[in-house]
Symmetry: D2
Subunit: 398 residues, 4 copies
C-alpha cells in the first residue's frame, strides 16, 4: 500500500476555525484530521466566545496573533478582506451558531466546513443552500461516517445492483453517555460541558438525540442506499427526568419506491458507546456495517455464505479503495474518516484553484445533505408531537 | 458437571402427539427433545390429516397401531377413556388447529403442550385459559426461547435489580427464508410446505410474520423484563408481491411504568437465519442476548466493562444453572432449549402424580402467556390497519 | 429442514454401557445423545465399580435388574451368551479400563463404542485393532468433534481442493478448569472426581493434558486435513505444583508432504472453557473452525473476502448436510455432535443386520483412529522426555 | 474527552527523515502520524538512494531544497553542523541500513527513531546501545504495537498483579501477503518492492518472517508481561519454493521464573491480514488482545465472567488513558498507535530542552528493546539451524 499521489493534492491551503478551543471536543479532532493530509494549514481562528481562550489556543497552535479574532463576524470580515485570506473555514461551535457563522463566511466568499446539524430550521438551511449555490462555493457538512472506506464500499455495492431493489433498512445509533443527568451533575460535581449544551434547546435546537445522532443515521442511510424518505412516524422521548430534549427516539419510515425502515437512536443505552449500525436488505442481497469495527463490511448474496469484506483488500471498489490509507489488517478509525472527507474537500478546492475539474470520486456531504438532515429532524419532532402520526418526510430536491 | 437428580424426575410419563408426521418440521424436534430427558415416552398419535401418513409415522416410531388415530377427536376421546391414557399431548399442527385440538384434549382432562401462536382469536384464547383453569390442568405453549439457560440468567439479572428500572428495550427477530415466494415456487419448482401454510391466512391466522416470529419477541421481552405493554403502534407490511400475510413488521411500544421499546420482525431479511435478539437497558445496567450464540449473555453495569457471562459457569443464578446440561464451553442449542421446557413441564406433572408440590423453578410458558401473545398479534394487526395509530396493548391479567 | 429418512434408520438396536453411573460426566451425555436418534435402547449396564450404584443407576434408567451387572467381565460374558444380547456396548470409564473392557466385549463379538484415549499403550491399541479386524466388528472411538456438521464441511472443503496443497496448521485446545489443584481440593473442600482421575497416571495413563484433550487436536487435524505426521517435537509441562501429569503442552509438527503445524493444549488457561480451534492454510485458501461457535466455518479463497459458512445452509456439501438436524440459525451443539456419530455407527450396524451395504457417508472415528491417537500421545511424551527432540511421529497404516 | 494539555507538549520540534520517499510504505505513515501530534515539523530528508526521488519528495513535502540530501552521510554531517539542526531523525529504510544510518546520526548527537529490526547482528546492536548511552541521546525503535492504549492497559493489568504469576503465553502474528512469490512476480507482472527487499537477505538480514514480524511478537510479549526469555526452540521454514528467507516460523519458549509460551509467525497464512494476537494466562487471571480490533481488551479473573475493556472508558489505568485521543466507541487505529509513541518521544525531547524531568508515563521502545529483538532473531535462527534445539534465549541487561 503506497500513497496514491492522485489522491493527495499537495498544494497547501490555509484555513481558519470558529470554535474548537483547546479544551473542546470536536475542534481538536478536526485539526488533527486535517493535519493528517498535509494539505491545509490552520492560520486563523476565533476559537471561543471568551477571547482570552481564543488567544491562548492561538498561541498553543502557533498562530499569528493578528489572525486570532474576538468573534466570528470580525474574523469573517477581516479574513474576507485579506489578500492571503483563508481558503476555507471550519465551524466547530454548538448548533445555534452554525447558521450565523456559516452565513457570515459564505457572504465573504469563503468555503465552509460545518458541523451537523446544519441549522435550527429549514428556513435557515434553505438560506445556506441558496447562498452556497449563488456564490458557487463549496460547503461540506461533517457527516463523518461517510468518510469510512467500508461505508463507501457499501454504497458502491448498492449502486452496483448487488443487493437488488432494496426492501428493508434497519439502522440505529445508541449511546449511553447521557444515562445520568450529567448536564447538571457530572462526575466530580460539575456539569459536563458537552452534555450541557447538547441537552439545552438554546444551543442544540428542537431535538437532542435525533438532532445530535439520529441525523447521522438519516445521512448514512441516504448515502449508502440513495433512498428518499416518503413518510415517517416518530416517537421522541425524554428518559432522564428534568431533561429538556429527547434522549431516546424511535422511528418507522417508508421510502419512495416501496422500501421501509426503522431507526432507533438513544443517549441512555448503557454499554453502547457510539453504536452506529446500519443493515440493508434487498431482493438479491444484504449488507451490514457497524461503527464498532468500521474496517469490515458484511455482505451476503441470497443463498450464498456471508462475506466479510475488509478495508484495504484488493477486491474493493475504487470508491472505497481511494479512502484506504494503510494495508488491510492495520485498523483505521475515526480520525481517518474525518481526514478522508477533508481530503476530498481540499482536493476540490485545489482543483478549482488550478483550473482543473475535480475528480468525480472527491465527494463529501454537502449543504444540501445538511438541509436534508434538518428536514428530517423537523419531521421527526413534528410526528412525535402529533402522537407519532405519519408525516410527509420528503426532501424536495430542486 | 453432573446430572442433577433433583432436576431430572425419572418417573416415566407417556404422551401423544397431534401433527408432526415424519416429514414435518417441528414435530420431530419435539420428539427428539422429549427423548433427551428420558421422562416421557411417545405412545399415541394422530400425526397427519392423511391417515396413511399417521400409520406410517406410527410404525416408524414403534407405536402400538391401536393408538394411532385417524383424527384428533377420535384420539382425544379414545385416549381419554383408556386407563393407561397418555399423560399429556403435544400439539404440533398448523395454527388453525391449535384451538380445537387443545380444547378436545383439555375436555378429556389431558394436559397440553401446544405450539404458538395459541389461537386465531382472543375469544378462543380466553376459552382455553378458562378451560385450563377450571380443570386445573397444565398447559404449556412452546415459546422455546425461554428454555435457554442464558435467557433465564437474563431474567434473573433483571429480577435481581442489576439493571435498575428498565428504560429501553430493543428487540428483533429477522429471518430471510421468505425472501422469495417459495410458498408458490420452492427450489425445484414445488411449493415449500412450511412456507405454504405459514403465509396462508386459512392456516396461519390474521398475521404471518408477527404471528409466527413477532410473537416470540413479545414473549421473550415479557419473560425477561416482566414489562407489561401499555400501548403499541405497528406497521405490518407485505414485501413479496402476491403474498397474503405480512412478512415484515415494525412496532413502537410503551410499557406500563414508563419504559419504551421497538420490535422488528422480518421474513425477508436476506442473511438473517433466525436472528432473535434482545437488548434491555436500565438505569443501572444493560444486557443483550442473541440466539445466534445462545450460550453467552452480555451484561454491563454502568461505568464498568462489559461482562460476557457463559452458560455453565459457576457464577450463574440457580434459575440458569438448573437448565445447564454440559459444562461451559460445550455448546448447547435449540434441542436443549426445548428439552429444558419439557423437563419443567414433566417435572410438574410427576410432582402432581406423586402428590408433591412442584419445584418453584419448574416454570414454562403457560396458556396465559399464549393468550398474551394472541392479544399482542391482534393489537399489532389492528394498529397497522389504522395507519399505525397507537392502540391499547394491555393484557388484562385476572 | 425435515427429517431425512435415509439418514435415520429406525430399526431399534439395544445397547449396554460400562461406566457412566448417574453422577458421572460423560456417561449421561452418551445416553442422552443416543436417545436423540431413537435408534438404540439401553438395556444393560455395569455403571460403576460399586455395584450398589450400578443397581441404583439401572433402576433410574428403568433397566431389567437381571441386566445390571456387578462388573464388566460378568456383563460381557452374560450378554455375550444371551439370545437378545446387546448390539453394542458404550465404554465410558476412566482410561485405564478402556483396554480390558473393550477387549472383553470384542471377544464376545459385540461392537464397541469407546471413549478416548483408546488405551495406555501402543501394544494394547494394536491388540484392539487386531481383534476388531479379525472379528469384523465395528469399533468407534468417541472423538466427538468429528460429529459437528461444520467439521465435516471443513473436511469436505479440503478434499475438494478448495484450499490447494496444505502448508500450515495451527490448532489448539485450551481449557482452564485445572488452574487450581482441584484434584486435591475442589470447591467446598472435596476433590473434584473428574479432576482426580484425569490427573492420576494410574487412571489416566502417561499423559494428562495431551492424553485428555491434545488427542482431540490430533484427531481433528487428521480428520479435516488427512495429513500424516512425520515428526514432532513436544514440550509437556506441569504448571500446578504437585500435579503428576502434564497440564500444558506445546508441539511443533512436520507432516508428510511438507506441511507443518503447531499444537497447543492446556488445562491451566483461565478463561478458556473448551477452546478447541483449528486453522488450516493452503496454497489457495484457508479455513478455521472453533468449538466456541461450532455452527459456523470461516473459509477464504486467496484474494477474496472471508466467507462465513453456516450450518444448515443450502450450499453445504452432502457430508455436512447429512449431519444437520435443524435449519440454519437454530444452534446445534455438543449433544448433537455426539448423536451424529452415534447415528452413523448405528446406521452401519442396522445395514449389516439387514444385509445391506452401509452408506458411504456413515463414517465415524475407528479403532485405527484410536490407535493413531495413542501413537501421538506416546510420541509427544517421548519427545518431551528427550528435551523436545524431534521424534518419528508417523503412524504405520497397514 | 478533551485534549489533555499535559499530554501534548506543543513546543515545536523539527525532524529529518532517511528513507520514506513518497512511493514507499512506512515513511509516509511516520510523517502522517507525526503530523497528528503537531509537535514536530519535517524539515530535512534523504528519502531515497535515487537523489531525484529525494528531490521530488522534498518538493512535494514543501522542504527547503537545501535540506534535501543525496545520501544519509551528507545529511548527518550537514544537519549536525547547522545551528537549526533537526531535533531528531526518523530512519525508515530497509533493514541493512538501520545500523549505518543510526550510527551516523548518533555520532552527530542527534536523537533517533528507527524502524525494526534494529540491526543485522548483535555486534551492531550493541554498538548502537553503547553509542546511545554514551551520548545520553534518546533512541526509539518503532515497535508500533506498544503504542496502542489497550496494550498499555494490558501491561498495567499485569503489573498490578491482576493476573497473578504468569504461567502461559500464546502469541502469534500471521499474515498472508507472501503466499505467492510476489517478490518475483507481483500482480501485473512486476515484483512487489516491499516483498522484494523483505525476502532478500542482503536487505533484510538473517531472517524474513521472524525478523519482520516475529520480532513484534517478542517485543509485545516482553512489553506486556515483563517476562525474560530463558530458552527457546524454534523452527523457521520456507514455504514458498525459491524464497531465500523464512516465511513461517514456530517457537516454544521458556521464560525465567517458570512460565512458558509459544509464538507463531507466518507470511503465508491466507486470510490473515496482520493478525498480531497475544494471550496471557496467569494464576489468577488472563487477558487477550488482538490487533484486528485494537480498541478492546479481554480480561478475566478466575471464576468470573470475561470482561471486555474498551479504549476510552473511565475505568482504564493512567497508562492507557494517557494514550486515548477520542471517546470510547470512536475507533482508533494504526496511525494513532504510531502517533502515541511519537508523542512520548517528543515529550521527552521537549522536557529535556526545557530542563524539566520528563513524565514517567512518556515511555517508548528503546534501543535496548531493539537489541533484545536482534538477540531474539539471532537465537531463533540458531535454534532452527540446530534442528530446533533449545538455545539460550536470555538477553543480558547490564
Amino acid at each position: 500500500m503506497t500513497e496514491d499521489k492522485k489522491n493527495d493534492q499537495r498544494e497547501c491551503l490555509s484555513y481558519g476555525m470558529v470554535g474548537g478551543s483547546s479544551g473542546s471536543f470536536i475542534g481538536p479532532i478536526h485539526r488533527t484530521a486535517m493535519a493528517m493530509n498535509n494539505q491545509a494549514r490552520l492560520v486563523a481562528g476565533s476559537f471561543s466566545q471568551a477571547f482570552e481562550r481564543t488567544l491562548e489556543t492561538g498561541r498553543e497552535l502557533g498562530l499569528d496573533p493578528e489572525r486570532t479574532y474576538p468573534d466570528f463576524l470580525t474574523m469573517a470580515e477581516r479574513e474576507g478582506s485579506r489578500i492571503d485570506r483563508i481558503d476555507f473555514v471550519v465551524i466547530a461551535v454548538p448548533n445555534h451558531l452554525h447558521f450565523p457563522v456559516a452565513k457570515a463566511f459564505l457572504q465573504q466568499g469563503i468555503d465552509v466546513i460545518c458541523e451537523k446539524p446544519l441549522t435550527f430550521s429549514m428556513e435557515e438551511a434553505n438560506e445556506l443552500v441558496r447562498l452556497t449555490r449563488e456564490s458557487h462555493l463549496q460547503f461540506m457538512v461533517a457527516y463523518t461516517y461517510t468518510g469510512y472506506p467500508m461505508v463507501r464500499e457499501a454504497r458502491s455495492l448498492v449502486t452496483s445492483g448487488a443487493l437488488g431493489s432494496i426492501r428493508v433498512v434497519a439502522a440505529e445509533y445508541p449511546q449511553g453517555w447521557l444515562t445520568d443527568p450529567i448536564e447538571r451533575n457530572g462526575v466530580g460535581g460539575g456539569a459536563n460541558p458537552q452534555a450541557f449544551w447538547r441537552t439545552d434547546p438554546r444551543y442544540s435546537g428542537i431535538s437532542g438525540c435525533v438532532g445530535d445522532i439520529g441525523t447521522h443515521v438519516e445521512n448514512l442511510v441516504h448515502f449508502i442506499t440513495g433512498l428518499e424518505i416518503d413518510k415517517l412516524a416518530a416517537r421522541l422521548e425524554i428518559m432522564v427526568p428534568g431533561r429538556l430534549l429527547d434522549d431516546n427516539a424511535y422511528m418507522m419510515l417508508r421510502y419512495k419506491g416501496g422500501a421501509s425502515g426503522s431507526y432507533w437512536s438513544s443517549q441512555v443505552a448503557i454499554g453502547e458507546e457510539n453504536g452506529l449500525r446500519i443493515r440493508v436488505y434487498g431482493e438479491k442481497g444484504a449488507l451490514s456495517w457497524s461503527h464498532e469495527n468500521p474496517n469490515i463490511l458484511r455482505f451476503q448474496k441470497k443463498g450464498e455464505p456471508v462475506q466479510i469484506l475488509t478495508r484495504g483488500s484488493g477486491y474493493l471498489s475504487p470508491e472505497a479503495a481511494r479512502f484506504v490509507r494503510v494495508p488491510a489488517g492495520h485498523p483505521e478509525g475515526y480520525f481517518e474518516a474525518f481526514a478522508n472527507l477533508f481530503r476530498s474537500f481540499c482536493n476540490v478546492l485545489i482543483a478549482r484553484k488550478e483550473g482543473r475539474p475535480s475528480d468525480l470520486l472527491d465527494t463529501f456531504p454537502t449543504v444540501e445533505d445538511g438541509a436534508r438532515g434538518v428536514k428530517f429532524i423537523t419531521d421527526a419532532v413534528q410526528s412525535s408531537q402529533r402522537d407519532s402520526a405519519w408525516v410527509d418526510g420528503s426532501f424536495p430536491m430542486k
